[in-house]
Assembly symmetry: C2
Homo-oligomer: 302 residues x 2
Amino acid sequence: MFTGLSAFPLTPLPHDALDERAFVGLIERLAASDVDSITALGSTGSYAYLSTAERARVATLAVDYAGGTPVFVGVGALRTSDVLANVRSAEAAGAHGILLAPVSYQPLTGDDVFELFRSVTESTELPVIVYDNPATTHFTFTADLTARIAELPGIASIKIPGVPVDPDEARARVQSIRDRIPPHVTIGVAGDGFAAAGLAAGCDIWYSVLGGALPDPALRITRAALAGRIDAALAESDRLAPLWGLYAEFGGSLRVVAALAEHLGLVPERSLPLPIQGLTVEQRARVASVADELELEAALGH
Amino acid sequence: MFTGLSAFPLTPLPHDALDERAFVGLIERLAASDVDSITALGSTGSYAYLSTAERARVATLAVDYAGGTPVFVGVGALRTSDVLANVRSAEAAGAHGILLAPVSYQPLTGDDVFELFRSVTESTELPVIVYDNPATTHFTFTADLTARIAELPGIASIKIPGVPVDPDEARARVQSIRDRIPPHVTIGVAGDGFAAAGLAAGCDIWYSVLGGALPDPALRITRAALAGRIDAALAESDRLAPLWGLYAEFGGSLRVVAALAEHLGLVPERSLPLPIQGLTVEQRARVASVADELELEAALGH
């Protein structure tokens, strides 16, 4: 279940409130696509900004409208008791797995993070994805800690933030993780621009921001890479390079994909939670221009 | 009001629940001391981990038991609407000011942060302390942004994370901020080990972690420095160097001061919110040993 393409939908929050209709629309489009799973309430889904009650509602909507597609739900929070409350609501919603990041305000120690994962895996039968994303959590996993956590019963996958650009280094990096984790634990790449390289280097799954809004181009990369057609995967990723360029230029994927989804009419304007204002008018024009150049409107397809 | 010593009490959370009796005890001790103000729900008060309802309760208790001592309340949160809810509860509690940090999950832009401060200053008559603490917020203020925010009506003080070790550089750094902010806006130093140097370099106020647990040694530093007896202030700070050393060695002030307060019986054991486990048994023994060496139990005084 933790292989292929996992699509991370936005959680549209215009006027500081969940737009249920728009969120359901995103889920229905993903359910009608060929994605292997949907991860609601990832970083792309603004999980860290939502109340426990809002998160329970989003989890329920995601599962209810996903058809047969497995749904994973992000449960991370600053306080362990809030994490456990989110685990309960993911279970109640019928999620197939949970995604857990060591969100921090005070810097966390390795033991803090290990005990967090232990508490969660002891409290649920749901499989757990370890979410390693130092750009947002400001916590850096050591290789030792990743290996220790991967041994916990219930750990299903590890989401790594990217791979080195050099293919040999990328393969060595993925293998170095693989060598230290149980064989049933999959490795997933995040960072859309690294996805083709990550899958080519041996990752099993792409945890994809782009796939949450536009599954088709993300599926082309994923299917090609996992079938061993590495050149085709890299070519499709290269074709999308102007989009990855905007991610780098405009401070990450979230603001760019939110602006793209707003431009394509998938979500309402100003869909991100304040204080995140999203892109400026000029930046949005650049996103629209790249969307035209890459014919992303056609990717809306079905 | 934003000068002298502002003491930052812990918010004791044993077994994941606010210990009201212990918190009131901390506030009453500060009220009986000579501190110039109390800042509840700073980083030391674990504000980021508490619910909106818990924060309202802590703010009320702090004001109710502070006697005549002015109380400032930390209102920072990831989402602007939660910040504004915390502002409302600080007002309702009768706070004399609020402390606002640009807490982040997704990295924030300068414009995001400016608009956050604008929204808050427009929504309240309470004076606002700008909380610049990149170690926890992961947001770095530029000099330009600090100056822009300081011009907003209602901004009363800027809490800077520390000063350079070299006295001339420290003075130049404080002066460079002073040159760009309105004269009524005070500058406060955080980072207890930098406090004497910061006050000597021209800061008006010390936002003090140690002062929240042990006001007397913090007052000795503050009163000496602000009376121009810089050597005496630096000597008292040097005397406490073993404590500052533990801050550096054990990952910051919070875990050390929590362990110290637990050791001295000011708060119950395991007072920090999980996943923060606090210091190990061996580390706690080191804290106890430094407390003995520095005769900190005697500092409990009144």
